[in-house]
Point group: D2
Chain length 341, copies 4
């Protein structure tokens, strides 16, 4: 970290600061410029997280040099992490495909979706049991009943199960049914919940929030990882911008940025980014070409009957086409995806 002093700051101001830094065991390096003096701070800055240096007399601003997260960063672990979910590996050579309906609605619906996505090559079944909906008057999910249906579908197909948890109570229930927790965009900074899934040790699919920078997202991942759970897979799902042609703006650059700053795998959710089924093929191919480790896609046996987010769910037929395309692209890109396993 660099401390930039105001023009005209006093030597006594500088001494007051260096005294504090040295008392905390930090090294200090002073550099006098033409207009301003700057103080370089050397050592582990976490001891400073509760020291309001910016209020010391003569201080103009603080400039961080090293990223604030630790466990999620490449400095901590330079080689890419591969997360193993009961044998399915995320972040390795093979691309991972998670698919299924937005919400679990009935045994028929989820079983039919599971069989379809399995047939096209998906390794994970997704499906929401706890649904955070914008309006309190809309369908809110089947909760535990839904999770039981997911488990049935798993037994029938061998697919791994990923499902969103929205509260500590939901974690307690879902832990008995799912293979991977999903933390949704709205909970990206629900730190209580992050700690909870951290303590569970179970793999976590961790979505970016609609107004979260990549740095804040990696910082939030730190809440899960600092509980000892390193099984975190990031998921880019679009950020909020002024553009309204799509529900969110897919930040495709997050893929190479995360790859260059973190060792965690990253997959992409084009369904929530686009909000419209007609753009999913294009964005899915873009995500894989950009280097994503997989996709999570909403597929519904009959989108026209879906109880939530109908407009963005693919039909099984359209999903199958997509898997075929992804499989052909994978090869060119040095990856692998088994279409029609």
């Amino acid at each position: 970290m660099i401390i930039v002093m105001k023009p005209g700051s006093q030597d006594s101001d500088i001494h007051e600061i260096t005294d504090i830094l040295e008392s905390l065991g930090l090294g200090v390096h002073i550099s006098k410029g033409t207009e301003r003096t700057i103080i370089g701070v050397i050592g582990d800055k976490r001891v400073l997280s509760d020291v309001p240096l910016e209020l010391m007399p003569g201080v103009e601003k603080l400039v961080p040099i090293v990223e604030p997260y630790k466990l999620a960063g490449k400095t901590f672990k330079p080689e890419p992490s591969v997360i193993d979910v009961n044998g399915v590996k995320i972040g390795g050579k093979e691309l991972v495909m998670m698919a299924g309906p937005c919400a679990i609605e009935s045994r028929d619906q989820i079983m039919s979706a599971a069989l379809a996505v399995k047939k096209s090559g998906a390794q994970f079944l997704r499906g929401g049991a706890f649904k955070p909906r914008t309006s309190p008057y809309a369908f809110q999910g089947l909760e535990e009943e839904g999770l039981k249906l997911l488990k049935e579908a798993k037994e029938a197909t061998g697919l791994q199960i990923v499902s969103e948890v929205t509260s500590e109570k939901a974690v307690e229930i879902a832990i008995n049914y799912v293979d991977m927790f999903q933390i949704g965009a709205r909970n990206v900074q629900n730190f209580q919940l992050l700690r909870e899934v951290g303590r569970s040790g179970k793999p976590v699919l961790f979505k970016r929030g609609p107004s979260t920078t990549i740095e804040e997202w990696l910082n939030a991942a730190e809440y899960i990882m600092s509980e000892g759970n390193y099984n975190v897979v990031l998921c880019e799902r679009g950020i909020r911008t002024f553009e309204t042609a799509t529900r969110n703006t897919l930040d495709i650059s997050a893929v190479p940025v995360v790859k260059s700053t973190s060792h965690l795998p990253i997959i992409v959710d084009p369904s929530h980014a686009a909000g419209k089924a007609q753009y999913i093929h294009s964005l899915s191919k873009a995500a894989i070409a950009a280097g994503a480790d997989g996709l999570i896609i909403e597929v519904h046996p009959n989108p026209r009957c879906a109880l939530s987010d109908a407009a963005q769910q693919l039909t099984p037929g359209s999903f199958d086409e997509l898997c075929k395309d992804i499989s052909r692209m994978a090869e060119i890109l040095g990856r692998e995806f088994k279409y029609g396993a």
Copy 2:
């Protein structure tokens, strides 16, 4: 709601839609334009919340005409609401001032803050017991211990207590100590939590999320109100934009926009919007001039020793100056604020 049909849609497409609408008890009005046919839907659209009309054959898009929220809107209740918190009225002629430290740190700190803000005219003491912090390595709050100190401060000063709750468990604990729950920006769409504070019946200070539109914010307020709790006070605290000179961009226009679409009171939090103490006076005066019903401001007896958000906390002296200014402005604006009660 208006359903816009694609150019070239068939009469059979239109009939299929009108059949569904009529079967749900809705009225229908068809208008054939030069390029497109549109279908007007008449009646309570909430019966449509789970019907994916946008996927019916021939449909291009849906255009909402009436705002989706009900209880928070002016159509439901045209005259402004006044929320009564143990005799302190929010949304009436008198401006309300909530002040106190970002986080409760010690008995001395909170008592000293309480006495100071009371002396300048504040009616509420704020102070965080459950602190959602960006980094897991920073101070996370005193929790119940902190709430007890708030209650002591209330007994000594007569100030009302407002404090943030971040989980259902926090609600259960805090209900015994606070006069008003605060829902923070990060939880604006934590619907489980909104329902919980809704069920409690206690007044709620409801902050806008950093990427929440005003319409979505009022929709989220609906989660609290649909549980029968109408004691909701909105709080604008800045939105996320590309500008980095301030921590967030205070959306001052939210004040007149809320006043024209909702009956709920709205106050402004300049501390989190600006992120820097030096801009608080300017933004506070702007908020009151724009028509806000009050302010919530971070005041710390010694900001240089604060354990969180030090840079944005005012000293008691600076807060006192501000209260004096606000009191003089209030008169000009047809409001009231008793400086130095």
Copy 3:
């Protein structure tokens, strides 16, 4: 267009409006809902562009149904346009590659860049002669001298020339040297300039502005096209958002959105979106996979000596790698790109 009336609007208000509409030759369709009356307007709404209907008594808001642009839209021309620049076709099966340095700096530099990009398969040479720079103290371009060097490079290599024009005067000069004008992001709503390049009849590469919605961008294209010049190629180059890890946020969704609403070709500029050379490969492949008709990429024979935007320019070697990758991807996607022509 739909006119939504306020709750409680009078019949006389409605009549006043319908009288105006009918006097302008427009059809009218009235639909009375439970809460509001709406008036559908039938016919060419351009006659209304200067009539302030939103100020008529009783009017709550106007809701557009049909997109405001005409010539750029699919309704006007459903099949994709192919723009021909001296035999090089943009928007057809073949992908187009435009490459070259940010700014023209010297004969050696531009000639060396031209030979290199030609060798890898590029069909266009880019290079800035008029440089809009954020700071007035930075290099501003060689102007006409630079254009002459571009023309020399064209004669030596057969590459087509695309170069930015920033003023009417620049258009007058550049028309003698370039094969395609580029309108930069900062001039997306410089309507005077758009008209000027419209009148020239020459093909135009039209970049999106950093805060322009796709609809506004197509509206701006209308300024060029309404002068009779339909040779417009759109170029997505990133929008401004809160994320700072990249210079801009590449809006990859703009590719499928434009393809579904407009007949104009669209290419992608990953260099300005990313601002960092290390992300260009990833974003370029994503753009082609998303369905873009080509790329425009900054390539400098020696980026470390570049006089502007050094950080985002590829070396010829890195560009060659990219062309090889694109060529292999093209086939999978049903496109074509001749690597190493």
Copy 4:
């Protein structure tokens, strides 16, 4: 400026950089941290504007310490500037009010507007002669004819004239008629035009662009000032965000931020920020309370007949009310405004 080296950078990398810096006459200060080495650069960094240091081997990133603009900054001139336009002072104790129609439409209209705004206390008449409109099918302004009408109105009322210029040609024409050039938001980085008005020496009202940071805006002002024209008045008019309840989001914080970093005066344009007349009073009062030096407001003798931006123009009566309110607020804030001069 600070140069941050990558972990593991070599001593030879550092020497290569310090050699370059020293050869340019800059001082160098090296500080070795636990994870990274940083190099402090001492002296006038403008000599580095065309040196791509970020591409040198071993360099991770550059961190600017001093703001890039010079003439617009407080370091250059600590005390506030007062701009004199024929005796009317902007930036002093007196608040300045600029008012008039969006576009000049006819002699009657502009004369009637001029008399009305003069009567309420305005010192400036605004009115657009060159209108940049989103759609090419909308009214584009009266051009020179309009400027003549403005001058007539000036002669009749004594008001100063401010009007937008959109091209070099417009500058040449308008210089004969107006007292102050306005540079509109769309041209904030039209550097050619900025230089042109810089060379003219005439006072410039310089609007912020919808996606321009405050720092970029001050950098752009530098283009005007570096031509020797220091008569620049900044104008905040809203930035583009995800919120659609208002046309733009008024960045009220820009007022205190500019006051703390620049010596230039700043006024606020609530009309373009809000886009709706009903919010203008609220935002105008907020702007003055925040510390703005004045306002520019659209006023039309008959908004319902306006040919552009009808929805955001005040009636003379509503404007008069506003001036009365501003006059009363001015006193409380230690400013002055003569209502009904």
